[in-house]
Amino acid sequence: MIEEEVVNILSKDLHTKVSELKIEGYEMLVDLTVVDWYRKRDDRFELVINLLSLSKKKRIRILSTILNENLECESLTDIYSGSNFYEREAFDMYGIIFLGHPDLTRILMPDDWIGHPLRKDFGLGNIPVQFKNAPKV
């Protein structure tokens, strides 16, 4: 069985801690995503990074709240090149800015899209429909 471990890391130490973890034997970045704690916590955005060690059969999940006001954090692409797409997705969906990313553009949404859809204050979206002969509200 794979052991699983959860750690909290300050966002300013994230880059150094992750590069230490890579030397420790976590070869693969499996997943990177963001949780939006809108109106639940003072600092909204929390990075969730899943690392996997294939040699030691261990997983580690890093939770790191982004304390920066401009929602900036250091990119992990120089440690794990596989985090490229995931960071672009996090930028696209939540507006987190990864400093040092080679090509931080929208990945899933159209380039001219306004807003970041997976934020909790971004509506689900609907089109108002006016029915024939219906009383106007």
Partner: protein, 456 residues
């Protein structure tokens, strides 16, 4: 590099000596005309290693032949290209026939399923996730259900577990069959296209009988499965188990020693183990690069550790081994299916927990409590305690993970699916660049991306 050049220069000198200074070479050269015939140049040790398959050339073209930027051309491949397996667009920079740079452009199938998932209850969630990887829908349902069950801290009955394994392993066979079929068509083996879909139909008929639908089943749900296996299911499975191995032999007969097939796939699209680690690539592509890693063995889920099966590992790390490993995995999956059929335990197919499982229809007429539970489950859904969980399973394309954050309500606060195709697509620039454009399609097909899983 310096040593190589020196060796080559020495070799050239020697050959010149024998060819030009023939009179010094020996009496045989002058006495007969044998010496005037030019000998075939002997291979250098490096060339010999390549011919013997010890060393792999990643890129066909040396960097020395680079031309100026003016001679390059950027063309778009897709999104409406039949061999990109959906709506994948590739910006390809060409220099003559050589691909120099590739940029995958995705998002054409993005429908915001993770956002939708936040407004659906846990029991509705499977209808949403099953539409992501549409070739392996049961795996999506399985991973969502397992994560919900981990948050709920419940364990489903043995029969439900075994049905899940049976159905997902059959699903792995169908998914690989589509990969073989479409991959074959991309390279020109048109009959492979027909064969793959023909065999897949056999299993899809069984799925239709069991779940009611051929795709997007919503069969595996939190708390068990939606329905028990139909009457006479053993007969159907027996037919599948007899039919498909025979057909696999046909495929091997047609393709395994086929010179065109070998020529198109061998040494094409090299993806080494180290590159797989860096890019987070899992599944058949990692195993085809010689690294033994399968979550069914190292992180067993749903009681799969009870079954005996092997993990095929190949060392060539090219498109051919990525094709071959899918054939071998079908055989191993069928082994699991046979064992699951033979040892299917009796019992309930869903958990006996009134808070999760809706009561049976006849109880609604006689029990007020059952009626309330039924109403609550279908209007509000069951509540899940606060917490977060990440569960992953081995899908046909790699590690499929689900990360759910619960805030104590009946809907997930955050639902994220780690799709293997999304991550595997990052390998395209590496395996396609510095290779001929003719190999591009073979490289894409060997990675087997499903755009529904990429864009979500």
């Amino acid at each position: 590099m310096d040593d190589k050049e020196k060796k080559q220069k020495e070799y050239v000198k020697d050959s010149e000596y024998w060819a030009t200074n023939a009179e010094q070479g020996g009496w045989s050269l002058t006495s007969t005309d044998e010496g005037n015939q030019k000998m075939e140049k002997e291979e250098t040790p490096e060339e010999l290693e390549i011919q013997m398959g010890k060393e792999i050339i990643d890129d066909y073209i040396d960097s020395e032949t680079l031309s100026s930027e003016d001679e390059r051309m950027i063309i778009n491949m897709g999104p409406q290209h039949p061999s990109t397996h959906g709506v994948l667009r590739l910006q390809v920079e060409l220099e003559g026939e050589i691909v120099r740079r590739v940029k995958p452009v995705i998002g054409y199938l993005h429908t915001g399923m993770e956002k939708t998932g936040e407004s659906l209850t846990y029991s509705q969630g499977c209808t949403n996730t099953t539409r992501m990887d549409y070739l392996a829908p049961l795996f999506n349902e399985l991973v969502f259900s397992l994560t919900t069950e981990k948050l709920l801290n419940i364990e489903v009955p043995d029969r439900a577990k075994q049905i899940r394994i049976l159905m997902t392993e059959l699903n792995r066979v169908t998914s690989h069959l589509v990969a073989l079929a479409t991959g074959g068509m991309d390279i020109g083996a048109i009959s492979m296209m027909i064969f793959g879909f023909r065999e897949r139909e056999l299993i899809l008929n069984f799925f239709e009988k069991t779940t009611g639908l051929r795709m997007n089943h919503n069969y595996i749900r939190p708390g068990g499965v939606a329905a028990d296996l139909p009457d006479g299911w053993e007969g159907d499975i027996q037919e599948i188990l007899e039919e498909i191995p025979n057909k696999l032999k046909d495929y091997d007969q047609m393709l395994l020693d086929n010179p065109i097939w070998n020529g198109r796939l061998r040494n094409v699209g090299i993806l080494t183990t180290q590159e797989c680690f860096d890019l987070g690539i899992t599944g058949p592509s990692l195993r085809a690069s010689g690294f033994d890693w399968d979550l069914r063995k190292v992180q067993p889920y749903s009681g799969i550790e009870k079954f005996e099966f092997d993990i095929p590992v190949l060392n060539d790390s090219d498109a051919f081994s990525r094709w071959r490993i899918k054939v071998l995995e079908i055989q191993e999956s069928l082994k699991i299916v046979q064992q699951a059929m033979e040892t299917m335990p009796k019992g309930d197919y869903r958990i006996d927990d009134k808070k999760v499982t809706p009561p049976p229809r006849k109880r609604l007429d006689e029990s007020m409590e059952a009626l309330i539970h039924h109403f609550k489950l279908f209007t509000e859904g069951f509540k899940v305690q606060e917490g977060e969980a990440y569960v992953s399973v081995e899908s046909p394309r790699g590690e499929l993970g689900c990360y759910i954050v619960s805030d104590g309500s009946s809907k997930p606060y955050k639902m994220h699916i780690r799709g293997p195709s999304f991550c595997n697509l990052q390998a395209l620039p590496i395996i396609m660049s510095d290779s001929p454009i003719a190999d591009a399609v073979a490289s894409i097909a060997s990675l087997d991306p499903v755009m529904g899983d990429v864009d979500r």
